[in-house]
Every structure is written in C-alpha cells, then in structure tokens.
Amino acid sequence: MSIEVKNLTRTYGHQKALDNISFSIGQGEIVGFLGPNGAGKSTTMKIATCYLPPTSGSLEVCGMGVTEHPLAVRRQVGYLPEHNPLYLDMYVHEYLGFIGHVHGLRRKVLKENVKRVVEMFGLIKEQNKLIGALSKGYRQRVGLAQALIHDPKVLILDEPTSGLDPNQITEIRNLIRHVSKEKTVLFSTHIMQEVQALCQRVLIIDNGRMVADKTVGQLREVSGVAPHFQSIRVSFKNLVNKEELLQIPGVLEVSQETDGSFLLLASAQHDVREAVFHKAVESQWTLIELTRESHSLEVIFKELTGKGGQDD
C-alpha cells in the first residue's frame, strides 16, 4: 500500500477537522480527493506530508508512519501545497536546484533531474526567468516540477488546477495523467469533471468524515439506486424567463447556461419533463431540447455532502 490511513483524527483546538478517517491507496493508483472547502482535504494532505501530526490514528506512506519516520516519509513524497507557494525572487532552475539539493540529490543526479522536469513540463524557455515573472499557468508547472524533482513514489497535490484558465487546466491534467503512470497520485479538488477526467477512484469527505470511497463507476450506480435529485437539460428557441421555469412543480433550482438553455435540478419523485413540455405549450415557447442528464457527479456530490439543492 502506498498510503494507508487508519482512524485518523485531527483536531484544531476544539474543532474536529478530521474525524476517524480510514482509507488506503494502492501503488500506482490515482485517486481524487473531493469535498467542499473546509472538509479536511488539506489537513489530511498536511498530515501525509508530515507538516502536521495526527491527533490520533495513523497514516503510513510506503509502510512508514508519519510520526515515526517523518524524514523518510518526506523523501518518498512529492508535495504541491495549496495555492502553490513559491519563492518569487528565485530563478526557475535555481529554485528546482534548491529543492533537489534539499532532497539530498548529488550534483550530477540533480542536474539530470532538473533537466528532466524542465523538459517534461515545457519550461525550457522559462528556466532562466524569475518565478515572480511567470504567468500563473507556468508557476503551476514549476510547482509540479518541484514536487517531482526527487522522483518520489507518491505524489500529493492539493488543488493543482485551482485558479487556472480552461486551457491551462487541460494542460495540467495531461501532465498529471502523464506522471501518474509510474506513481501513486492523491490529488484534491472540488471540481467534479476533474475527477471524471483523471481518476479511477474517488474519496469524498465532508465535515471531516469520509462519506464515499468508490470508483467513479460505482459512485454513479450507488447513487442511482436512491437518487433524490435529477437534472434536466432544456433549451428554447426564444427567450425564456428563469423565474417562470422555477414555477413548474417539482423544479428546485434553475441555472441558466446560455440565453435559451437551462439546467433544471428537480426532485427525483416526479418526472418534470412532462410539466416542462406543458408549460412550454401553454406559454408558446419553442422547445428544442429536453433531456434527462445521466447522473452527473455534481449531483452525487451534492447529495453525499448534504448540500443538495444549493450551489456552493
């Protein structure tokens, strides 16, 4: 097992950030760690990288406990902290060299490794620039490159794609997918598509408790047994008022995607498609699309974390 967590609890003062969490991640797995803000994702990662000790319970990385062998654990782990902190007054190659040196790489290996990650992350042109002068996307690459400089067995990434534009998100995801071939990856996110795009397995936590530990496929099925919500996509040719759609019985929430296109969140008890159709006829709207979406992970996420029907 690459990461083995048993009954992990962490409290800050009186507040329980993690409450008796257990899971394990096998070698070579790529696992998404999901939860609303403040659920305990970062805390778990900080414990796994020996920044914080657990209050009780244990966490082992490659068979070594974080409290017993903190330095050995840190050698096996590549870590990208949340918000990707960097020394802005250092040059890219200088920074990678520094991190490599801290990890005890010898001169020759260090040089090779810096070259390897610089090439892997497309930083060849940028390596002689100050980190402070780089765009956010490139900084994120530097952050990832830094996490990989010592060729760790386990990669822990805390929100690796937050704050990036869609193109950069795709790039970073591809890079993560690329490195995940040889490594165990645990990454946190609150974007559902990311989980669908990247991994086989999802851990969902909420309020410090583990609410789901399943493969992406399982998650859909399980939730399909007793779904409380369904989402309906509906498009009209003419302009339609969002408020009017909300009046349709059974519709809980309406989000407008484009001018005439809406995503309705409805309770699962009645099929609102019929009602939508009647409403359209009655109001003389031209209906051009009406489909029930297969359960998106978003809906499942909302259900599991008890935030049903609300946007966060």
């Binding site: 870590y79 902190p85 020394y87 040196h101």
Partner: protein, 242 residues
C-alpha cells in the same frame, strides 16, 4: 542545512538587503571612527579602537534584526513555510541554516573593519603601539554578541508573519538583553542584588572579553544564551503541531 544556508545567502546577495546593511554599517562606523570629532581616533589621540567596539553593539541592535526579520516571517506570509517544512529536513536544520546565513552576513560586514586595525597600528606612535590582545578579545566579543543578536532576530522572525513586527521585536529583544539588564542592575531599589543581575546581562560578559581576557565562562555564557534562544525558536516553529 547547507542548502537552506546557501539559499538564504544567495537571496541576500541577490537582493539589495545585504549591500544596504553592509554599506550602512561600514559608513556609520567609518564616520564615527575617523570623521566625527567627538569620537574620532585622530582627535582622541590614543591608538585604540574603543569607538568601534563601543558603537558596534548599538549598530548591530538595528542591523541584525533587519537582516533576520524576513527569515520566517516572509516564509509564513507567502506560504512557503509549508513547502520548506515538508522536505526531508528537521526543524532545527532549517533554523540553523537560516541562523548561520544571518551570522555569515554579520561576519562579512565586520571583516572590512580589520583594515581599521591596520590603520591604527600604522598611526601609533611609536608605530604598532596598541593593545592587540585587547582588540582580538573585543573582536571575539563582538562576534559572540553578533551571534547572540542573530539568534534573537531569528526568534523574533519566527513568532510573526509580519516583517516589520519581527524587526521591531528583534531590535527590542537585543536592546533589552544588552542595555536593559544592565540598567536594571544599576537601579538603587535593587540594592546588593545588582551585581548578580549585572552578571546575567550581555554587557558584563562583552566588556570582560573586550579587556582581552578570554575567560571560558564568558564564552560559555554567549554559547548558552545563543543555543537557548535557538531552542526557543524551535519550540515556536514546532508550535504549529499543537
């Protein structure tokens, strides 16, 4: 530890801080020693370097906290603390790396004043008529004082994420440990205890070394208070775990 040391020294030399610190220190000391009539050696008429060793502690009181203020405060503010403290380094290695980088800069700024020794040596009448042993002792004392002030600066930087707070706190700690205890000892209300309190202060041991008398008690004094301060820093840094 070496990598942290190298990084900190490089970041000093790449930024303006090191150059400003060194030039301010040397200009100030140079003016006091050779130009200002009140303190100038040329007007004073005696071939000694009392001016340097009398003024340097006060200059250190401001310069050393200025060097050290960013050590942990900046890392905390920018979040790089987490980056550094999740690498295979113990807390003490990181603290020592930064501490020695600060001390290196202090020594580096003190080195050019050795030229003053040569000047005073040449100016003496007869030539070379000065208390070399005393000056040696004073340098050792100044170095030890510098290393203690550096540890206070590191401590001040570890308690806050605001560099200005770190600077003011550092300067205050240096001042209290240097002058404060001495002043306390001379209070009349303290009475006969004064002498004991005076011995706890930095000035007492600094002056003892300045006389050129290398007493192991003074050396141990400086080594122990510096070590104690660094251990206290480790306690502060480790407090994130509680």
């Amino acid at each position: 530890m070496i990598s942290v040391f190298r990084k900190e020294v490089a970041s000093f030399l790449n930024s303006l801080i090191a150059y400003i610190v060194i030039s301010v220190f040397l200009t100030g000391i140079g003016l006091l020693m050779w130009v200002f009539p009140e303190t100038s050696i040329l007007d004073y008429g005696y071939a000694d370097m009392e001016t340097l060793f009398g003024v340097a502690p006060y200059v250190f009181m401001f310069l050393i906290p200025a060097i050290c203020m960013k050590f942990f405060a900046e890392e905390k503010k920018s979040g790089t603390m987490e980056l550094l403290f999740t690498r295979p380094l113990t807390d003490m290695q990181i603290i020592l790396g930064k501490y020695f980088a600060g001390l290196f800069l202090v020594i580096f700024s003190l080195l050019p004043t050795v030229i003053y020794y040569y000047s005073v040596y040449e100016l003496g009448n007869p030539k070379g008529n000065l208390d070399s042993a005393g000056i040696m002792g004073s340098y050792v004392g100044l170095l030890l004082l510098g290393s203690f002030f550096t540890s206070l600066g590191v401590l001040a930087s570890s308690v806050t994420e605001n560099q200005i707070v770190a600077f003011i706190l550092g300067a205050f700690l240096c001042f209290i440990s240097y002058d404060g205890i001495d002043a306390l000892a001379s209070l009349e209300a303290i009475g006969p205890l004064g002498h004991t309190i005076e011995r706890l202060g930095v000035v007492y041991h600094y002056n003892a070394l300045s006389r050129g008398l290398m007493d192991s008690r003074d050396l141990w004094y400086f080594l122990s208070i510096t070590t104690a301060t660094l251990l206290l820093t480790r306690l502060v840094i480790g407090s994130r775990r509680w």
